[in-house]
């Protein structure tokens, strides 16, 4: 009997660990390093209807215990993702969560409609929180009514459960969470990156060509934990938590705050084997806590 499997809408997870969208491409690179079937799920890179070229470089900058990025949703577009990337991932026994992005409601709807029919796509992650693109992304995630409408529109066409990825760049994340729940979301993933900026020591100008970038890494974990904690109390749909996860203790923290599963982002760039390493470390963590199954710790902060 597994002690770390988790059941969520659309997703039978062998374990609650998955690489976060944008930090793992479409899996090909990490497949050279370890067996992707070991993962609970894979959140693939954001897919848009058309090819996106992304932002100018430099696109990343290191910060204290974190990094800023402004990649700009570069991806080969829906058709190639479906015909090439998702096909490639079919050779692994791992559910795919497809991150869906767009410029207008109609793009989101079209990508969702098509990509949700792929045999290995078991859930969608609606990206209403990318801070690095001019239109599409974050403006859908900062206004509750807009977020609710988009969620409902995508939900109406999707063949699989829809999770919505929330932005921390809002006054009240709880309001947005409630709105997407009202729009019919099956779950929430949180948090996306925090908008930040780093200046060049000599010139005083932003290091990242885009000016601002999204902050991720261990530096953002306390913000993410607080937000998961608040949203868990306010909604009745499951949460996949993320933000600065680097080890098994971080996973325990997110699940204690209310996450049912956990995504690992920036840490994949630092320790390329971090996901399998965390998965292997979880049973010992459960022993330490005197817990038989990992699901017992979900939301324990609130009990």
């Amino acid at each position: 009997m597994s002690r770390i499997n988790i059941e969520l809408p659309g997703l039978s997870l062998k374990n609650p660990i998955m690489p976060a969208s944008g930090c793992f491409g479409f899996g090909r690179e990490y497949a050279q390093l370890y067996d992707l079937s070991k993962l609970g799920a894979i959140m693939i890179k954001a897919t848009t209807l058309e090819t996106r070229a992304g932002n100018p470089t430099p696109r990343v900058a290191e910060t204290a215990a974190g990094m800023l990025n402004a990649i700009g949703l570069q991806n080969p577009g829906l058709e190639k993702v479906m015909n090439e990337e998702l096909k490639f991932l079919e050779s692994y026994d791992v559910p795919i969560i497809a991150n869906v992005a767009g410029t207008e409601v109609s793009d989101y709807v079209e990508v969702a409609r098509q990509i949700s029919t792929a045999s290995n796509v078991k859930a969608l992650e609606l990206n209403i929180s990318c801070p690095n693109v001019k239109c599409g992304g974050i403006q859908f995630g900062t206004d509750p009514a807009t977020a609710q409408e988009l969620t409902a529109a995508v939900k109406a066409v999707s063949s699989v459960p829809v999770y919505v990825k929330l932005s921390p760049n809002v006054t009240s994340v709880v309001e947005i969470a409630k709105a997407v729940e009202a729009g019919g979301a099956d779950g929430i993933t949180m948090i996306n990156t925090l908008v930040g900026m780093r200046l060049h020591e000599k010139t005083g100008k932003p290091v990242i060509a885009n000016g601002t970038g999204g902050l991720s890494g261990p530096a953002v974990k306390p913000v993410a934990i607080r937000m998961v904690y608040e949203v868990y109390k306010a909604v009745n749909i499951p949460i996949i938590g993320m933000g600065g996860v680097t080890n098994a203790q971080d996973v325990i923290d997110f699940m204690s705050a209310g996450a049912s599963a956990v995504a690992v982002g920036t840490a994949n760039f630092v320790d390329h084997f971090v996901c399998p390493n965390i998965i292997d470390a979880l049973p010992a963590k459960l022993d330490e806590l005197g817990v038989e199954h990992i699901s017992e710790i979900i939301g324990r902060s609130h009990r």
Binding site: G25, R28, T57, P58, R59, E62, F269
Partner: protein
């Protein structure tokens, strides 16, 4: 094969102003080829967080040792410069596609042009070219005499010319200043240095086969994060290439300069 390994520091020495030579030992040396790089985690703490891409200056497969030469100019490389013999360093590699040694005809001549901290990978390349029976000419550009290194090592491998911006060693000016005077005869060129140098080399030899090694800020180092993307020219089908996994070495004409 890409491996993650805690490699042991054999020795580290300061060989020029802010320039360090670090010799590491471990199994992943067996897979290294010239022009590839390694991604180094300089400490086990969260600060600095990201790995540092560093080129490979010398490979000794018999001893399972390789040498990196790097400039300590930021927090990460400063921390690395403090590593002592016997310490362990977390290395991911070897990464990327290096210089094609076989592009130089046996019995022919290769022109190797480097700038600053782009010079180190040319050392291992030159060793392998010479082992293949290719004559090498080295043209090495630096800011100033106090940041030059490996003069003896390059001299052993072939004719070596120095160029410094301030004229403190060799010819004063840029590598192209010297190449204009020298008018070297060669079959193929290899270049690693700052973008203006790569650009100058591509323009100086339109009819020669040439390979350029690029540098860009990286995240993952394996092609997953799309941080180090470069625009391509119309000569190639792809719209972009990733320096870390498609490069860092590209045939001339691939990357838009």
């Amino acid at each position: 094969m890409i491996r993650s390994e805690r490699m042991i520091v054999v020795r580290q020495a300061k060989i020029a102003h802010n320039i360090f030579e670090l010799v590491l030992q471990g199994e992943l040396v067996q897979d290294m080829s010239p022009g590839q790089f390694v991604h180094v985690k300089v400490s086990d703490t969260l600060e600095p967080l990201l790995r540092r891409p560093i080129s490979i200056a010398d490979v000794n497969k018999e001893k399972s040792q390789f040498t990196m030469i790097y400039r300590a100019e930021g927090r990460g490389t400063e921390v690395l410069s403090l590593a002592n013999a016997g310490q362990l360093v977390d290395v991911l590699g070897p990464l990327g596609n290096g210089f094609p040694v076989e592009a130089a005809p046996v019995g022919g001549t290769a022109l190797l042009v480097g700038g600053g901290i782009g010079v180190p990978p040319l050392h291992e390349l030159s060793k392998q070219l010479n082992a293949r029976g290719v004559r090498t000419i080295h043209v090495l550009g630096f800011q100033s005499e106090n940041v030059t290194f490996y003069e003896e090592e390059f001299n052993k491998l072939g004719d070596t010319y120095y160029v410094t911006v301030d004229g403190t060693k060799g010819t004063k000016g840029f590598v192209t200043t010297l190449l204009d005077e020298l008018q070297p005869e060669f079959d193929v060129f290899y270049c690693c240095g700052p973008l203006p140098m790569l650009n100058a080399m591509e323009n100086a030899y339109p009819n020669k086969e040439g390979y350029l090694s690029f540098e860009e800020r990286m995240g993952c180092g394996i092609g997953a994060c799309f941080a180090c993307v470069c625009q391509t020219t119309e000569q190639v089908e792809k719209d972009y290439v990733k320096v870390c996994s498609d490069g860092p070495v590209f045939p001339k004409g691939v990357v838009q300069l």
